[in-house]
């Protein structure tokens, strides 16, 4: 393949632009990250539950398709009834804005709020 040099340079610039864009977004979410207070569970676009991250527990979601575990201020999907198991592999989340998505079961767990906030509600 022989491309025009000018064309190749523009290609590289465009690729560089996308790489920088994603790097900037990574950096932005990294520096902004702070511990969250809630694990908010959304099933089929509806919020169905919010669990405090300060309280350890094992929760059955969406009539048993997914199992959410909260321990040590972190949340993760322990089990899922779907072929891809992507949400289980996603690992643990603890910072505001992070989320675990299970597309086949349409379950989303996202971290919101700040730690103290959850305390107020739990009492």
């Amino acid at each position: 393949m022989s491309f025009d040099r000018k064309v190749l340079r523009r290609d590289l610039l465009l690729i560089l632009f996308f790489l920088l864009l994603s790097a900037a977004m990574f950096a932005f979410s990294h520096f902004r990250q702070q511990e969250g207070g809630w694990a908010v569970v959304t099933v089929n676009s509806k919020e169905v539950a919010r669990y405090s991250l300060l309280q350890d527990g094992r929760y059955i979601l969406n009539n048993g398709t997914n199992t959410l575990v909260i321990e040590d201020h972190t949340a993760w999907m322990e089990d899922a009834l779907c072929p891809d198991q992507i949400c289980v592999d996603m690992g643990k989340i603890r910072y505001s804005g992070q989320s675990i998505v299970c597309l086949p079961n349409r379950v989303v767990v996202s971290i919101e709020g700040v730690p103290g906030e959850a305390d107020l509600y739990i009492g």
């Binding site: 491309f3 025009d4 465009l14 690729i15 996603m90 998505v101």
Partner: protein
Amino acid sequence: MKTRKLTGMALSIALAMIMSFLESQIPSFVPIPGVKMGLANIVVVFALYQFGWKEALGISMLRVVLVSILFGHLASFFYSFAGAVLSFVGMVLLKQTGRFSHIAVSVTGGVLHNVGQIAMACLLLGTNAIAYYLPFLILSGTVAGILIGLLAALLVKRIPVSFQETTEDSKDIKE
């Protein structure tokens, strides 16, 4: 010429479907939904250069519909559809400028495909929590796009048959 074009398009759709099927058999190596190679885009980029944008659009849309019916479900159709449309618009616009090669076209397609999917997921799941994965998906779309673009450029060079009646796009193919 007409029969030749028809056969070429039918072959392209079949190929794109095989690529999608092959890809669905590969287990995802990163635990992020939507990260994939986008093998079918090789065919779409190829068609964009060898057939023209209308034909490539037809191939891309038919592939999405047929693959969803055969191997997917309704939700997967919406994700692929949003990704395919956005990616196609971006690729055509970039190609029309005449200032970029197959690689940049394919990279734009890869990135926009992922952006489209995320937008659709936010819409369908009613939460913008998924936008958290956008930087991962822009990165993966770029890397996959480079690879797919190189493969498509190779194909365009090795199969230098133009299925177009006009030669207005032949200036893009550099020998």
